[in-house]
């Protein structure tokens, strides 16, 4: 597979297009030339592309997706040809990236960030023969499927570890953007923390970025200075954990097992396993059985899991968390109650969790950013 970073992405896409044009020109120039130019690719090779918002080396969100890509590659081998684009900005410009990839012959394109949703929808309309798959959003179309998972289940469990660890009863939460996915995570985390520690409060600060290590670390430090002694995060880098480690505080990560960045601070984290959905989708596209749908994985299905515990998590807490995990998996415990108590202390119907736009009681901060 190719790994391309930000600076060269456009050039590589451009170069790919150029090569594509050259091949088309060669093919048009003379039928015989095309055969002598090289062995034709076997028809069954599926070209698959992945577009990430950050570098796959972030050891966080994009890295977790790339682990899934490696799994796909290991399972299907030469039957797939994979292109990975990193650090592609969200927003309208990403439509061009998706269309370039489709024009370059990719028949299955994954976009792994929320902000790709509408650009991808538009690209799917322009390239009806290509299968588009968008992670984390809420829209689908005939050519675009959606996939995500119940991170809130893992968030709830990691919140229990944080609630047991805090002594100041103030947990700091470094959060990226006020979208339903992030709000679900914060609320589930807070409910989990409150289960083991009813007095706990969760202070949220917004960074307006998915991946900006110095900024995320600075945000975590501002929370520590405000009296938080546990840091949680919805960010793609491990930088908030380094702030916690340096301050002697505790840390709940996200996306992957990040123990190595802050071994003393580490408690646990909700983590992702994307491999199976990538494999299943590629197999469906190859077999011609793919249909657009909104797939929502969970802990029972293995898409979401809990990372290994840090040394400081006490045995009693571990037992409690594992018991809850078993209940979540067998369906006897649901993370969000209905009705639910909101930030103002009022009871309200839970509503559609995919459009969640409020904070639960105990969260400090603004749910609109």
């Amino acid at each position: 597979m190719e790994r391309i970073n930000m600076a060269f992405t456009r050039w590589r896409v451009f170069a790919t297009l150029l090569v594509a044009f050259a091949l088309v020109a060669a093919a048009c120039g003379g039928d015989d030339d095309a055969d002598t130019a090289g062995p034709a690719q076997p028809a069954e090779v599926l070209k698959v592309a992945f577009v990430h918002v950050g570098p796959v080396a972030d050891k966080g969100w994009s890295w977790a997706h790339d682990q899934g890509v490696q799994y796909l590659k290991a399972q299907l081998g030469d039957a797939v040809e994979i292109t990975t684009l990193e650090t592609i900005s969200e927003g309208a410009d990403s439509q061009r990236v998706f269309e370039d990839l489709a024009a370059a012959g990719n028949k299955l394109i994954f976009g792994t960030s929320f902000g790709y949703m509408d650009p991808m929808l538009a690209a799917a309309e322009n390239f009806p023969d290509t299968v588009f798959m968008h992670a984390t959003g809420y829209k689908t179309s005939e050519g675009m499927g959606n996939y995500f998972g119940a991170a809130e289940e893992g968030r709830y469990l990691s919140g229990m570890a944080a609630g047991a660890a805090t002594e100041t009863n103030l947990i700091g939460y470094v959060a990226a953007f006020p979208i339903p996915e992030v709000l679900r995570g914060i609320n589930a985390f807070t409910l989990g923390a409150q289960e083991v520690n009813p007095d706990v409060q969760v202070q949220v600060v917004w960074t307006s970025t998915w991946f900006d290590p110095p900024k995320e670390k600075t945000a975590a430090e501002s929370l520590l200075d405000a009296g938080a002694d546990v840091i949680a995060m919805h960010q793609d880098s491990a930088a908030p954990g380094q702030a916690a480690e340096a301050a002697g505080a505790k840390w709940v990560g996200y996306n992957t097992d990040m123990t190595e960045f802050a071994p003393t601070a580490w408690l646990t984290a909700a983590i992702w396993n994307w491999g199976p959905i990538y494999l299943a989708t590629a197999e469906q596209v190859i077999a011609g059985t793919w249909k657009s749908e909104a797939f929502y994985g969970n802990m029972a299905g293995g898409m979401v899991a809990l990372a290994p515990f840090g040394d400081s998590v006490e045995q009693a807490t571990r037992d409690l968390i594992l018991e809850r995990e078993a209940q979540i998996k067998d369906g006897s415990f649901s993370v969000f109650p209905d009705p639910i108590i909101n930030q103002d202390g009022e009871s309200q119907p839970l509503g559609d969790i995919f459009g969640m736009d409020f904070f639960v009681e105990g969260v400090i901060g603004s749910s609109s950013g």
């Binding site: 790994r3 970073n5 202070q203 600060v205 110095p214 670390k217 600075t218 501002s222 930088a239 380094q242």
Partner: protein, 317 residues
């Protein structure tokens, strides 16, 4: 906001401002020679990765800093060659340097069988002082709570200021930036002066980058410096090409970077301010200051080198 939070915020602002001082003073020296180098972001990233690499393999922070400075200087030499010897458009060359440096840094971070990426630093700069002196109320954390590079940055700014305005070589440098033809007729080698100072600027940018990978975010990750290189270029104008003002501007910018988060923790009425507005704070500050500084009669006092960005053709005098 309580008193200790205010002090911690200022301490953090000083830390966040320190890499900006290195890069801004470096770019100031470069631009004083009449060369505009927009490759600061690239040079900082190369400094960040090479400094991290050296410390990772040797365990020596001093070596990390030295290697970062050499790497930054080496990359800036490319810009010096294209803009001084080949006389190509300096904006294009500088932007190319940033693209190249960004790509090279993430490539180097992943190269080899034991890549740097995802690894924490083996060593981190610790605060220089310890014990009673750091525990004095207010003064302790503010003045004595920093690592050695924080003090080095101030010394570099002071040294650069003295060099620029109080030495014969500094005078030559400014002359080259203002009017290279006249400087040349006074016996100054324009090309030599420009080469030297572009590379000095590059080495300081490299050092600024290393401050990120060895102090602020001591892990190798792609793109660990945010937009610091671009901010430094803005700070050069904001500080009107004067190193001491660069210190103030950098700390102000560091404070704004930090304050956007501190404000969110202060509760009503501050928490009602949208965080996206707060995220703009550093940039609003920079633009506002530049408007104030560059409007009307003040513009003349701003002091941009007259020959900045203009290729010098000796034979066209």
């Amino acid at each position: 906001m309580n008193e200790s939070q205010l002090i911690l915020t200022i301490v953090a602002a000083i830390g966040l401002g320190t890499p900006l001082i290195f890069a801004t003073v470096g770019e100031t020296i470069t631009e004083r020679a009449g060369i505009l180098n927009l490759g600061v972001q690239g040079m900082m990233l190369i400094g960040a990765v090479s400094g991290f690499w050296a410390t990772f393999h040797t365990g020596s922070l001093l070596l990390g800093v030295i290697v970062a400075m050499i790497a930054g200087a080496a990359l800036s030499a490319v810009h010096a060659f294209t803009s001084i010897t080949l006389r190509v458009n300096q904006i294009v060359s500088g932007l190319a340097l940033t693209l190249f440096g960004t790509g090279l840094a993430s490539f180097l971070g992943r190269a080899g069988s034991n890549p740097l990426v995802g690894n924490p630093s083996r060593k981190v700069f610790e605060p220089l002082f310890s014990g009673a002196i750091t525990e004095i109320a207010v003064v302790g954390p503010l003045l004595f709570g920093h690592d050695i590079l924080v003090y080095t940055a101030i010394a570099v700014a002071g040294g650069a200021s003295y060099y620029l305005f109080n030495t014969r070589m500094g005078l030559s440098l400014r002359a080259v930036g203002e009017d290279p033809a006249s400087a040349e007729s006074a016996g100054v080698s324009v090309a030599r002066v420009r080469y030297i100072h572009v590379m000095v600027g590059g080495s300081l940018a490299g050092l600024g980058g290393a401050y990120f990978s060895l102090v602020l975010v001591p892990t190798w990750q792609d793109d660990p410096i945010g937009a610091a290189g671009w901010i430094a270029i803005a700070l050069v104008i904001l500080s009107s090409w004067r190193p001491w003002r660069a210190v103030v501007a950098a700390y102000l910018f560091g404070a704004a970077e930090r304050f956007q988060f501190t404000l969110q923790t202060l509760g009503e009425p501050w928490s009602a301010v949208p965080s996206t507005l707060l995220a703009m704070l550093p940039f609003v500050l920079a633009i506002a200051a530049m408007i104030v500084l560059t409007s009307g009669k003040r513009a003349r006092l701003l002091g941009a080198p007259a020959a900045l960005g203009i290729p010098y053709f000796r034979e066209q005098r």
